[in-house]
């Protein structure tokens, strides 16, 4: 079928092109609102800036298709194969992308607001600058969850997104907006969260082992029982953050701001806390074996029952701090 024929039939109110072979077809800027292309073969097709709002593309083959700037608002793409597709600046707001194969797809600056991405495979996809507010990436069960392994999520907007238990190991999330996002139990091992905004984020029991969080803002974030062993938290902002029972062993917290943070029972053994601001922080029962607190500011902090026997406190400011024995430092 030629593109002209398809466009003519569509103009004649025929919207059903299910299962058609449309490989390599040029339909750029075409108005195909509501078209049915289920199971159609659209490999290498050019659909740049096309209007595919509310189109049905379930099971469609869109491998290497060019959908730059295409409007796929509320389209259905269940189990569609968009491997290596170009979706640069595409509109996928409210689209149904359940179980879609988006591996290595380019979603640079795409609008994925409120999209259903459950069980979608986004491994290796480029989501730089994409907006995923309200997108559903929730893990339904171990076998039905979005895969973001190796994806590029730089500057992505995931504010308030539900990423409970998501696999984000080694993902690039630099400069991302994850404020108020739910990352409870998420796997963020080795992830790069430098400059990310995690204000008020829920990271309870999240695995951030060896993750990089340099310059990230975690003000008021919830990190109870999180795993931050060996993480790079230098210059991070953790004002008022909740970290009881977190594992921060070997973490780099140099120059970090932890004013008023709750660090009860945290494991800070061998952590680098040089020049760290711990004013009014609660370090009750914290384990600080061989931690380096050189020049740290512990003004009015609570160190009740904290393990400090092998801690370096050279130059640390302890004015008003409650010491392990309950006495107040003058």
């Amino acid at each position: 079928m030629e593109a002209s024929e398809l466009l003519q039939r569509y103009a004649d109110k025929d919207i059903n092109f299910a299962g058609e072979n449309l490989t390599g077809m040029n339909l750029s800027e075409a108005d195909l609102i509501g078209i049915n292309l289920s199971g159609a073969d659209l490999r290498n097709a050019s659909l740049v800036l096309s209007y595919l709002n509310r189109a049905t593309l379930d099971y469609a083959h869109l491998v290497a298709a060019n959908l730059s700037g295409a409007n796929l608002t509320q389209a259905s793409l269940v189990r569609a194969v968009l491997k290596d597709a170009n979706l640069h600046g595409a509109l996928l707001q409210g689209a149904d992308l359940r179980s879609t194969d988006l591996t290595l797809a380019d979603l640079l600056d795409a609008n994925l607001m409120d999209a259903d991405l459950r069980n979608a495979d986004l491994s290796g996809a480029n989501l730089t600058g994409a907006c995923l507010r309200g997108a559903n990436l929730r893990e339904e069960n171990r076998r039905y969850n979005a895969n973001l392994r190796g994806a590029n999520l730089r500057k992505v907007d995931l504010r308030g997104a539900n990423l409970t238990g998501a696999d984000l190991a080694r993902v690039d999330l630099r400069g991302a907006n994850l404020s108020e996002a739910c990352l409870r139990g998420a796997d963020l091992q080795g992830a790069d969260l430098g400059d990310a905004n995690l204000v008020g984020a829920f990271l309870t029991e999240a695995d951030l082992t060896q993750a990089s969080l340099r310059h990230a803002n975690l003000t008021n974030a919830k990190l109870e029982r999180s795993h931050l062993s060996g993480a790079d938290l230098a210059t991070v902002i953790l004002i008022g953050a909740i970290l009881p029972d977190a594992d921060l062993s070997n973490a780099n917290l140099a120059w970090a701001i932890l004013t008023g943070a709750q660090l009860n029972r945290t494991n800070l053994s061998r952590a680098n806390l040089r020049q760290t601001n711990l004013k009014e922080a609660n370090l009750t029962d914290a384990y600080l074996a061989r931690a380096d607190l050189t020049d740290a500011d512990l003004t009015d902090a609570s160190l009740v029952r904290a393990e400090l026997s092998s801690t370096t406190l050279t130059g640390a400011i302890l004015a008003g701090a409650t010491l392990p024995d309950g006495s107040i430092h003058p």
Binding site: Q93, D109, N111, C131, N217
Partner: protein, 479 residues
């Protein structure tokens, strides 16, 4: 004993600074226009060479400030890099003062300083005012009330004048300082208090021609290359006999989350790809020329490549951060829309962009700051409404015009049809015809003068040589 040259001293001090990698990144960016983040590549640059190149590029401390603030504005961490820029400026300041006569406040300013000091001390927010002044003058964020008490107000005002010898410099310094603070809204208000209180410091300079930019509605710091700034500043003050321009609107300081909100709004109400293409055409006029008359889907490969190198958020920052007025932003968009000449696509995008940026615009400066002896003749809100209404009308019509006229005539027709101001102040703009001309029709000639016409170049500069811009500017309304 070896005596270090001032440059060597600066190199030594900077090499011992805490954020050396960031300092180097900014220096490399300033000298090479390339953002280098690879530590191995950075190690290949020597501080001495970089500082020397920077001094060559910025022959005065004002130009250095302008250059560095312009660069930091375009970065994803403007607050952090503003601090770095301040550090570099402080380190290099002695080098500029070495060879040139250091300008110190003239003695007749002292009674003024005293009066200003008294006024600031009486402010209900005096503590915050002092904190901000100490930050500006001494680069220290002093929280201790007792230590703050020990610093005399008057000496702070004098120090401030030494550091910022024009109101533009003071505004730029305040802006950059506020950007580094957590409570930006609160300290933005404090900055305005300081700016207003310190106006008398600059009256004499302005009256004696010391502040040559007083006729320009555009804050020059951090926007234009010095040469271009000079061109604009030295242009004959054609409107000298006219009332001073009322306040123009510029983008207020935004924090990280605000930028995400802005991007979100764009994604909600327009096509992100088209928005990127349009912003790219604004920021890279060469791209606009290359892709002229192409349908957006058929952009040439080079255009797509450039498009992919930039993300929407980054383009938006580069578009907004140099601090141009709404009128300038609007003109830049209209010019790009014209050049791209795809009337079915870009006018809607441009109108949407203008509508979205509207809430983040604030008056650039008060009228009294331009001309201390004059009172504002029109309420600020009225002028804002007029400007925005005019902008929207302009964009709404651009679609029709692009279809009806060829590019060479389009700009001329724009001025006529939309009642836009001519660069010739003697020419009164024609009242617009049609129903949707109401907003602009309400504007008087003088108010229309506020809709400054300018074209943005890749670095947010004004490009008077741009042929399209010339055509646009030079259009004198007929009839």
């Amino acid at each position: 004993m070896t005596v270090l040259s001032p440059l060597d001293e600066a190199v030594r001090d900077i090499s011992l600074a805490q954020h050396l990698p960031r300092i180097k990144k900014l220096l490399v960016y300033a000298c090479t226009q390339q953002w280098e983040s690879d530590p191995r590549q950075l190690a290949g640059y020597h501080l001495h060479d970089l500082l020397e190149a920077l001094l060559h590029r910025a022959p005065t401390v004002e130009r250095l400030q302008a250059l560095l603030y312009q660069l930091t504005d375009c970065l994803s961490k403007p607050a952090e890099y503003t601090l770095i820029a301040n550090l570099i400026i402080e380190q290099l300041r002695p080098l500029y003062e070495d060879g040139t006569e250091s300008v110190t406040p003239v003695s007749h300013h002292f009674p003024v300083c005293e009066a200003i000091a008294h006024q600031l001390a009486q402010d209900p927010q005096a503590l915050r005012v002092k904190k901000l002044l100490v930050l500006l003058c001494r680069s220290v964020w002093e929280r201790d009330a007792q230590r703050l008490d020990c610093i005399p107000w008057e000496s702070l005002v004098r120090e401030l004048y030494q550091r910022a010898q024009t109101s533009d410099q003071l505004r730029a310094a305040l802006n950059s300082a506020v950007r580094t603070l957590n409570k930006r809204t609160e300290y933005g208000a404090i900055a305005r208090t300081i700016l207003q209180a310190c106006e008398p410091l600059y009256w004499d300079a302005a009256n004696s021609g010391g502040e040559i930019r007083s006729n320009s509605a555009v804050p020059t710091t951090g926007i234009m290359e010095p040469a271009i700034a000079a061109t604009i500043d030295s242009a004959p003050p054609a409107d000298a006999a006219l009332p001073s321009p009322p306040a123009s609107l510029v983008v207020k300081a935004l924090d990280e989350l605000d930028w995400f909100e802005l991007r979100l709004e764009i994604m909600k109400y327009t096509n992100p790809l088209l928005a990127k293409q349009l912003l790219l055409a604004v920021l890279y006029p060469s791209t606009a020329k290359e892709q002229s008359n192409q349908s957006p889907a058929n952009w040439q490969a080079a255009g797509w490549r450039t498009l992919r190198e930039h993300d929407l958020g980054g383009l938006l920052r580069r578009f907004l951060l140099p601090g141009h007025s709404l009128a300038e932003l609007e003109t830049a968009l209209v010019t790009a829309v014209q050049q791209l000449n795809a009337p079915h696509h870009y006018p809607q995008v441009a109108a949407t962009l203008l509508r979205i940026i509207r809430p983040v615009l604030v008056p650039a400066r008060s009228q009294s700051e331009h001309r201390p002896d004059k009172q504002a003749e029109l309420p600020e809100n009225y002028l804002q409404t007029c400007q925005i209404a005019a902008s929207t009308t302009l964009l709404e019509r651009s679609s029709t015009l692009s279809q009806e006229t060829d590019l060479s005539d389009a700009s001329h027709s724009y001025s006529q049809t939309l009642g836009l101001p001519s660069t010739n102040p003697q020419c009164s703009a024609n009242p617009p015809a049609g129903d949707d001309g109401g907003a602009t029709a309400a504007l008087t000639d003088n108010e229309l003068e506020t809709l400054d016409m300018a074209i943005l170049t890749p670095h947010g500069q004004f490009n008077a040589a741009d042929p399209a811009a010339t055509a646009f500017h030079g259009a004198s309304p007929q009839g």
